[in-house]
Every structure is written in structure tokens, then in C-alpha cells.
């Protein structure tokens, strides 16, 4: 069977068979309610009847839940229903004791979030100390960070980026919504500025990594 006929059939079907938008909204509501993890638009479309448009239905659903006890949140390219943050006081029972993160871990996490994709050497340069293996491991284990693409500089170092779990945990739609990101960028504080000449701490290849960072940033922070 040729691909064309298949696609044509799909379009034809969608014209006649896709459920009405109200019904699609109900379906998304059911799926998001049933799932603790954020669900991607693609997965929603896959699970809904042929011809559905989850992205559009989500817009309606999000609006419907505005100001309610639970809200529809966007997490990266996925969606989830979460309780409204102002009602947290009702949930003492549900509160999960999160592992206390060390200061080093919190700083490392912030540097990864704001500078991603970022190499371990760059994290160390910003913090001025070496990053212990345990700190990175802990963040990886919590699935708040993951490996990004390798940097195309000598040694091809691995980079770190934050995950969807990270966004979910901090209620961020995307890494662009990190608090103060714009101001930090405007102040030039997210640059990987090469040190003048050679200083004891910094290695070479900083110019390279700056290029890499900008490239990566645009990729991650813009859509």
C-alpha cells in the first residue's frame, strides 16, 4: 500500500471522525488526572482517537482550570495537573520529605540550570572549586540533571542540562522561566568570559566553550 493513500485516509478520517473539541478536552482531563508524571502532547495524541488535537484541547483545559484547586501546568514539552501552590498548607500529609541538598549541590544545580549545557570544568570555574563526583551523581540520581551533548572542543567533554523532572519540581514551564534569567543574561553574568591572559585556575579552550554555550543556550532556551 502506498504511503499517500494512507495519509489521505488519515486526513479524511480526521475530517469526519475526530471527537468534538469538548470531548477531546474531557479526554485530556482524564489522562492528565490519571497520571502523576507530565504527559507529552505527542503521547496525548497517540492515546486519543485519531485526528485529535491535544495541543488545542490543552489550551481550553488550562483555561478551564485557572483559579481552581488544581491547575494545568506546562512542563517542558509535557503537561501535568498539579494542586494550586497556595493550597500547599492543606497537604501536610502528602508532603514528601525531600533529601536535603548540600550547598554545593544546590549551587551546582543552579549553575547547570542557568548555564546549560555546561561542562564540569565550567561549573568548577564558576564555583572556583572542584565539583565532587558525589554532587553530580546525586543530581543525576534525582533525575534533575542529565547528560547533554558532548562539547565539540578538545577532549569532547560531556555537558549537563536540567531535566523535565527538574522543571516539574520547581513548577517551571521551561528553562527560560528560571527566575532572574533575563537580568543575569543582560548583566553578562551567564557568559563564559575568557580570562585575560593565563591565570592559575583557568584552562584554555574557553573561547571555544563560550561558542558552544551560546549555541547550546539558544537551543535550550528558545523554542
Amino acid at each position: 500500500m502506498s504511503e499517500d493513500t494512507e495519509i489521505e485516509t488519515e486526513q479524511e478520517q480526521s475530517l469526519f471522525e475526530a471527537p468534538p473539541m469538548g470531548e477531546q478536552e474531557r479526554m485530556i482531563e482524564a489522562i492528565l488526572f490519571a497520571t502523576a508524571e507530565p504527559v507529552t502532547v505527542k503521547e496525548l495524541n497517540d492515546r486519543m482517537p485519531h485526528g485529535s488535537d491535544a495541543a488545542e484541547a490543552l489550551v481550553h483545559l488550562r483555561k478551564r482550570y485557572e483559579g481552581r484547586g488544581v491547575n494545568v501546568f506546562k512542563v517542558g514539552d509535557a503537561w501535568a495537573i498539579r494542586t494550586a501552590p497556595d493550597l500547599g498548607f492543606l497537604m501536610q500529609k502528602e508532603t514528601v520529605e525531600t533529601r536535603k541538598l548540600s550547598r554545593a549541590a544546590i549551587e551546582t544545580l543552579a549553575i547547570i540550570a542557568y548555564h546549560q549545557p555546561v561542562t564540569r570544568a565550567e561549573i568548577e570555574e564558576i564555583r572556583g572549586v572542584s565539583v565532587s563526583r558525589g554532587t553530580v551523581d546525586q543530581l543525576l540520581e534525582m533525575e534533575w540533571i542529565r547528560f547533554g551533548r558532548r562539547r565539540m572542543t578538545p577532549g569532547r567533554p560531556v555537558t549537563f542540562v536540567v531535566t523535565q523532572d527538574f522543571l516539574d519540581h520547581f513548577g517551571l514551564e521551561s528553562a527560560r522561566d528560571l527566575p532572574g534569567l533575563k537580568e543575569l543574561r543582560a548583566a553578562g553574568l551567564l557568559e563564559n568570559r575568557p580570562p585575560p591572559g593565563t591565570t592559575p585556575q583557568m584552562g584554555e579552550g574557553d573561547v571555544d566553550s563560550e561558542e558552544g554555550t551560546e549555541e547550546g543556550q539558544s537551543e535550550l532556551f528558545e523554542d
Binding site: 490519571a34 497520571t35 495537573i81 494542586t83 564558576i126 564555583r127 520547581f170 592559575p200
Partner: protein
């Protein structure tokens, strides 16, 4: 470091006190940059307007004090001290136009940038942690409905599979049955054939090993097979009355000669 000692008297009393307070807690710092950032706070100015010269003095004073108290300082603190001493001299002396490399001001600006960036990241981290957090301020669905996975297996085959399958069946009669190729075996039949052609010349007693086929003596496996076959063939020829065999003693060579009078 001598510079640092002489400069120490210049430092404000408050700074010295602060530095002393810090010494006790030297392990609490995450490296020289962290220490520098803490020291810079005593200047109580915007990090962008910080006096790096003053900061260098503060740091060097701190390191001297730590030495006086015989505190073990990690190597990177000392490396930073050396670099700051160098930076301080650059900042104090008028620039030497013949000297290569970045100016003291450039180095100072970069250090200020590093401090500002570290401070910015700390502030960002604090802001991040102050956000509403999942499982603390807002919550996910308490009960999750498992998505039931229905597995459906779809079988495929290509036209090529089909044709090859058919060809395989229709041509299987042509297949030559698999036989072990025994190239290291010299059969009795082969030995007989060889010897029959040779015994006509065996008028005198000859060692039967001389009837072994050429080239079978090197490989022990082939040698054994050929020896056995030649011996068996000799017996067969003796039985037929075509040759006579003799052996002078046990394990001595077996000799063969054509039987006369026929």
C-alpha cells in the same frame, strides 16, 4: 608575601577582625573564590565597584594569619595568594609598556567578574530553592492510574522473503548431502590399488613402509592412517597369495616380497 606583611598594618581594624574570625572557620570555605567573595562583603559595596587591590590585601593578610596560626592551607589557597600578590604588584606599579600580557586592571576586572558571577549564581540558587516545589507546595496526583499496555504483534514479510522461501523449497532436491570430507584418511582400497601396481617390482625383501604413498609421512595423522592401510593391504595381498611377509622380531620392520613361481 613580605608585601602582605607590611600592608597588614594598613588594613582596617574591622577587616582584621573579620579575617581573624574567618581563620577559625577556614574549612567552611569552598575554595579561594568563596573566601574572596566573603571577604569582599566586608567592603560593603556593589561587587562591580569592589576594590580588587583592597581585596587582594585582605586575602593575603588572611593567608599570613593562617600561617601564623599554623593552619594547614590547601594548595589552591596558596596558589591564589601568589596570584593575588602578583596582581597587587601589577596594580600598584605603573604599567610597564614593554611587558607582555594583560594589564593589572584587566586581571582585576576579570576577578571582579568571577566574584559577581559566583554571587549571582548563589542568588539564583536561593531564588530557585525559594520557589514552590513539587511535593512541598504543590502536589501531583496521589493515585495514578496505570496505563494498561496492550501488546499487539504484527508480523511482516517482504516479497523477497516470500520468493526466497519458495526458491528454497523448490531447489532443495539439488542440495548435495553434507559429507565429512576425510582428507586425512588413506583407505585400504587406496593402499591396495597403489601396492598392486608396485609389487611386480618387489623381487627382494623390502620394508612395507617403502610402499607408503608419497607425502603422507610428515603429518602424524596421515602417517598413521597410511601405515595402517598399507599394512592391511599387505595382509590382504598375502592372503591372495601374491606376496610373502616376514618380520625378524617383535617391532622389527615388516618386509614384503613378491611370491615367486606363479
Amino acid at each position: 608575601m613580605n608585601d602582605a606583611t607590611s600592608d597588614r598594618s594598613d588594613s582596617a581594624v574591622a577587616e582584621r577582625l573579620a579575617a581573624e574570625a574567618l581563620i577559625v572557620d577556614v574549612d567552611g570555605f569552598e575554595g579561594p573564590l568563596d573566601l574572596l567573595l566573603t571577604l569582599s562583603r566586608t567592603q560593603k559595596v556593589d561587587l562591580r565597584k569592589i576594590s580588587v587591590l583592597q581585596l587582594a590585601r585582605q586575602y593575603l593578610a588572611f593567608v599570613e594569619k593562617a600561617k601564623a596560626l599554623r593552619l594547614e592551607l590547601a594548595a589552591d589557597y596558596l596558589v591564589m595568594a601568589a596570584w593575588l600578590a602578583f596582581l597587587k604588584s601589577r596594580l600598584l606599579l605603573p604599567p610597564d609598556p614593554t611587558e607582555e600580557g594583560p594589564s593589572g586592571e584587566e586581571l582585576a576586572a576579570h576577578l571582579a567578574f568571577q566574584l559577581e558571577r559566583l554571587q549571582a549564581m548563589r542568588d539564583a540558587a536561593a531564588q530557585l530553592m525559594a520557589r514552590d516545589q513539587l511535593g512541598r507546595d504543590f502536589f501531583a496526583r496521589g493515585v495514578t492510574q496505570e496505563v494498561q499496555r496492550v501488546r499487539k504483534v504484527e508480523y511482516t514479510a517482504t516479497l523477497l522473503d516470500l520468493m526466497q522461501g519458495y526458491a528454497r523449497i523448490r531447489t532443495k532436491d539439488e542440495f548435495r548431502p553434507f559429507v565429512m570430507d576425510r582428507d586425512a584418511v588413506f583407505t585400504m582400497e587406496q593402499a591396495l590399488e597403489r601396492m598392486r601396481g608396485l609389487i611386480g617390482f618387489a623381487g627382494t625383501w623390502t620394508d612395507i613402509s617403502s610402499y607408503m604413498p608419497d607425502g603422507w609421512g610428515a603429518d602424524p595423522v596421515r602417517w598413521r592412517s597410511a601405515t595402517a592401510a598399507t599394512f592391511a593391504a599387505s595382509l590382504e595381498l598375502a592372503k591372495e597369495g601374491k606376496v610373502e611377509l616376514r618380520q625378524s622380531e617383535t617391532f622389527a620392520p615388516i618386509e614384503l616380497r613378491r611370491r615367486e613361481g606363479r
